[in-house]
């Protein structure tokens, strides 16, 4: 699989049963190293995970943001001060200086799993 070739030593963490992740209603996931991810399913069924900590406020709240899109790009808005982030890339669409880590996500046997470490591509 392509996933294996890109990240051979990737560790997958079970996040929650598939039916607990409703469309456009995120959940927070605690990672083994104490970090947190915000995990989302879009209306069209795509899965995304980004860092749960809102870089603007320092609070771990992004999983509670509103999911939607900006010009077709799936997004989440921070519930704190409403900055909007692209779910695919983690980029903040309101501030080009800011980007969230993203985590690979997959669904296996009725469980949503998340990679323990962020995507190397977006690691900060």
């Amino acid at each position: 699989m392509t996933v294996a070739t890109l990240a051979p030593d990737r560790t997958w963490i079970p996040a929650c049963p598939s039916n607990r992740l409703a469309a456009e209603r995120g959940v927070a996931v605690l990672l083994p190293d104490g970090r947190q991810a915000a995990l989302f399913r879009t209306f069209y069924g795509e899965l995304y995970a980004v860092d749960n900590i809102d870089p603007f406020s320092g609070a771990a709240v992004l999983s509670r943001g509103i999911v939607g899109d900006r010009a077709g790009e799936p997004t989440v808005a921070s519930p704190m001060l409403k900055q909007v982030f692209a779910l695919r890339t983690g980029a903040c669409l309101d501030d080009p200086e800011v980007r969230l880590d993203t985590h690979p996500v997959r669904e296996r046997g009725g469980v949503v799993e998340i990679a323990a470490a962020p995507d190397a591509r977006t690691r900060t």
């Binding site: 927070a28 996931v29 605690l30 209306f43 609070a59 771990a60 509103i66």
Partner: protein, 839 residues
């Protein structure tokens, strides 16, 4: 530096000083203003709104002393001008030298010398002092007579009505407002005014004011011969005309105009080149103008001249548009068709309660003037066309349904005046829009347009709408409709889900702007706000039924209706806060807020609260917040009604009501107003006879006092009007628009609102009441709904994979013996998209 002395701190004197300061960047003039009235300049044109609840402060014009080099000396009138010495002397004995002098002494009300005209109980209608005296005398009067059926007289009649005095208006001419309207318009006007409860006596003069045994006004004798009769009157207001206050000028030997007033040339200079005169005390080209617009124009000319300019008086626009006693009246240009060969196009629609007349040139090509009664919406677009070619068939311009207020403004040339009060042209407004003024308040600030009589506001809106930069009413990139339009779509189609709505009427998957707005619209249709797809629309506050705090924890605010709470319930709050380690604070809205709850603690906290009889306080929602009360007749020695009972009742009635923005209310037991009801969206103040209802107030960023909607209504009427008011707001306001802003943006403002709510002018009152009845019947506590539903409860976890592990980033320190956020919180003032920071 030279010294400029200005005599008179009325509207025009005020404008003159502003204009000098605006132009005098080099600081050539030190300005001293000497005013007779004890208070700084106020908006005399809006004087009557004093009876609608506007305060003296609300009427005040911008503070002149905030500008450099302006000195204001009030309450000390000038008694003499010594032109030889270039000095003035005040009643208090001060003597002031001047290099230039401006007379802005305005005019005084003319009182006809009929017998009894100076009895106690007789008044004029010009200053705040006059209004205070009228208010005091109105307390003991049941009927009152206003002498004079012109603009001022009708305003005075309305004032009496608002003060609970039954008004009679006596007018010598055969119809009301003879200066502005013609006979046909006057006939309809008389009819409409009579309907408002004013008794009109036209074609009758006042013969005598007759005293009673106590020496005060008791009756007014009107008419003569056969038709002589008497009207009982506890109060009399004279509003027959004005006389320029030219005595100082007369004493100083300055030339006067043919009908009084200080004679000035087109530069507003008197016969002494060091002395100018502006406003109602001046006679320019032999005419004394009793309106603000010509006065302001003179102020600008004189200011320009004082700074070496060469401006001349551009001539006066005496057009007027008024709303008197709820009746629209407008008159513009050659309203009486005095131009040679002028033709009239008249639409006299008595059943439709509208009269419209256009005066056109003999070839029917040019608009000369017109009169509108009953419906003056077309005024804004017609007035600037005066003297210009007619865009089409004149009848089309006044045809019913045509009066959109701003129509045709796009066709106007740039030099056409849009705001006549402040002489602002269409060009100046479009330039301001191009420079970034994006809404009406911005245009008001940078051009002054719309800050006088307000009749040009529809044009400002049209110009904004027509300019490329105008903001569209689209909710966001996902919905081209406004919130009000989406509300109508939901009501008409019965759509109950976001996906269906956005698929049929929008595009994409929504965002943090449209989702909460649509959640709020759908919430008005019933059901739990966290049901199914709805949950994904909510802001975090609504999603967790609590307010998010800076460190990601939440606050908990149980409802405490009217601020009334039993000791037992107080103990419960104390125990819950203690057991969960929450910070507690009494809020600004008479309830108690517990802070620092983690998301996974919320259900347990609410279980305890709900079991003790509490319910959600909706501090997290765009919904009814609290109804503040004072103690009223329950305890207070001044109370005249039971304000606590009413506050509790209203809070229970409207709890859970979702709205475009939060709604707050207050009920005070007497006019001392300890509940600060006039700072609320809905404010109720007890009177001896019932309740006064005020609407559209708020504190916050732009504090605004609520305005009086109706007075002295009984309990049931009050509740009915509040039902209608709130539902009308919910159905038609924009997203995040509080009632004050909604009313400000409403065409026709308070009068229109009153027509809809009180007179049911749109015929929707029954439907609004029914919608409210459905809300009241369908209300259920949102927190109880969550606690009773395992699926909803399951969402209140810290982590999907570790539901009970507290978020490790949340830590607390201690301040004044209470827990407060510590740890990695880096919030300051938001720097990006600050307009989004609303909860």
């Amino acid at each position: 530096m030279r010294q400029l002395v200005v005599i008179g701190n009325g509207m025009v004197g005020h404008r003159l000083v502003e204009a000098v300061r605006d132009r005098d960047s080099a600081g050539a003039w030190h300005v001293v203003v000497l005013g007779e009235e004890p208070r700084p300049a106020y908006d005399r044109v809006a004087l009557s709104s004093y009876f609608d609840g506007t305060t003296e402060e609300g009427l005040r014009l911008p503070d002149l002393t905030a500008r450099d080099g302006v000195e204001l000396r009030l309450g000390d009138p000038v008694v003499a001008v010594d032109r030889a010495r270039r000095a003035v002397r005040t009643a208090g004995g001060s003597v002031l030298d001047y290099d230039a002098l401006v007379l802005a002494t305005g005019s005084s009300a003319f009182v006809p010398p009929v017998p009894g005209h100076d009895l106690p109980g007789c008044h004029v209608y010009r200053t705040i002092d006059d209004l205070e005296a009228i208010t005091a005398d109105a307390r003991t009067a049941t009927t009152g007579v206003v002498v004079g059926g012109g603009l001022l007289g009708l305003e005075a009649a309305n004032a009496l009505r608002l003060l609970g005095v039954e008004p009679h208006v006596v007018e010598l001419a055969p119809w009301l407002m003879p200066a502005q309207v013609d006979e046909g318009g006057g006939a309809l006007l008389g009819h409409l005014v009579t309907e408002t409860g004013v008794t009109v006596h036209t074609g009758a003069g006042v013969a005598q004011v007759v005293p009673g045994a106590d020496g005060r006004v008791a009756r007014v004798r009107i008419g003569e011969g056969e038709s002589a009769r008497e009207i009982p009157a506890g109060i009399v207001v004279f509003a027959v005309g004005i006389r320029p206050r030219d005595q100082l000028a007369r004493d100083a030997g300055l030339e006067l105009g043919p009908r009084g007033g200080v004679a000035v040339d087109a530069a507003c200079r008197t016969s002494d080149p060091a002395v100018y005169a502006v406003g109602e005390c001046a006679s320019i080209d032999g005419t004394v103008y009793g309106l603000l617009a010509p006065g302001n124009a003179m102020a600008e000319v004189a200011a320009d001249r004082l700074l070496g300019g060469s401006a001349t008086f551009p001539g006066a626009d005496t057009s007027t548009k008024l709303k008197l006693l709820g009746v629209d009246v407008a008159s513009f240009g050659d309203a009486h068709a005095r131009t040679e060969g002028a033709l009239e196009v008249v639409l006299n629609d008595a059943p439709g309660r509208r009269y419209a007349k256009l005066v056109v040139s003999d070839d029917a090509a040019t608009l000369l003037g017109g009169v509108l009664v009953g419906d003056a919406a077309a005024y804004a677009s017609l007035r600037p066309l005066v003297g210009r070619p007619l865009p089409g068939d004149p009848l089309d311009l006044i045809a019913p349904g045509r009066g959109d207020g701003g129509a045709g403004v796009g066709a106007l040339p740039d030099d056409a005046q849009v705001c006549s009060c402040h002489a602002v042209t269409k060009g100046a407004i479009t330039a301001a829009i191009a420079e970034g003024a994006a809404d009406v308040p911005a245009l008001k600030t940078c051009t002054k347009a719309g800050t006088g009589c307000g009749s040009c506001l529809p044009m400002l809106k049209s110009l904004l709408a027509e300019s490329g930069v105008a903001q569209s009413s689209a909710l966001c990139e996902h919905f081209p409709q406004s919130r009000a339009e989406l509300m109508q779509i939901v009501l008409a189609t019965g759509i109950t889900g976001f996906t269906e709505l956005i698929t049929r009427y929008g595009r994409g998957r929504g965002c943090d702007v449209c989702k909460p707005a649509i959640a709020s619209i759908l919430a008005t249709q019933g059901g739990h706000i966290l049901d199914g797809e709805q949950a994904a629309l909510q802001d975090t506050n609504d999603r967790f039924l609590a307010n998010i705090q800076r460190n990601g924890t939440y606050s908990v605010v149980p409802r405490i209706p009217g601020g009334e709470i039993t000791p037992d319930k107080l103990v419960v709050i104390g125990e819950v806060a203690r057991d969960f380690g929450l910070y507690t604070k009494i809020t600004g809205a008479q309830r108690i807020d517990m802070f620092g709850a983690r998301v996974e603690q919320l259900p347990a906290i609410w279980r305890r609260l709900v079991d003790a009889g509490f319910e959600s306080g909706h501090a997290y929602g765009k919904a009814l917040r609290a109804v503040k009360s004072c103690v009223g007749t329950t305890w207070c020695r001044y109370g005249v009604q039971d304000s606590v009972a009413l506050a509790v009742e209203l809070e229970l009635r409207y709890r859970g009501l979702r709205a475009p923005h939060k709604i707050k209310a207050g009920v005070s037991g007497c006019a001392r107003e300890c509940a600060e009801a006039r700072g609320k969206d809905v404010g109720v103040i007890a009177t001896e006879n019932g309740w006064n209802l005020y609407v559209g107030g708020n504190g916050g960023f732009r504090p605004r006092h609520a305005e009086l909607l109706v007075s002295d209504v009984d309990h049931d009427t009050l509740v009915r009007y509040i039902d209608r008011f709130l539902m009308f707001y919910i159905r038609t306001a924009d997203r995040l628009q509080r009632t004050a802003a909604w009313m400000e943006a409403m065409d026709g403002g308070l009068d229109h609102l009153r027509a809809v709510v009180v007179e049911d002018s749109l015929g929707i009152a029954a439907e609004l009441e029914a919608a409210m009845a459905r809300h009241v019947a369908g209300y259920a506590d949102e927190w109880r709904g969550v606690l009773d539903d395992p699926e909803k409860l399951a969402r209140f976890v810290s982590f999907a994979n570790a539901p009970d592990t507290p978020d490790p980033t949340i830590t607390f320190g201690t301040e004044r013996e209470q827990p407060v956020p510590a740890g990695p919180v880096s919030l300051g003032m938001p720097t990006t998209r600050p307009h989004h920071v609303e909860v």
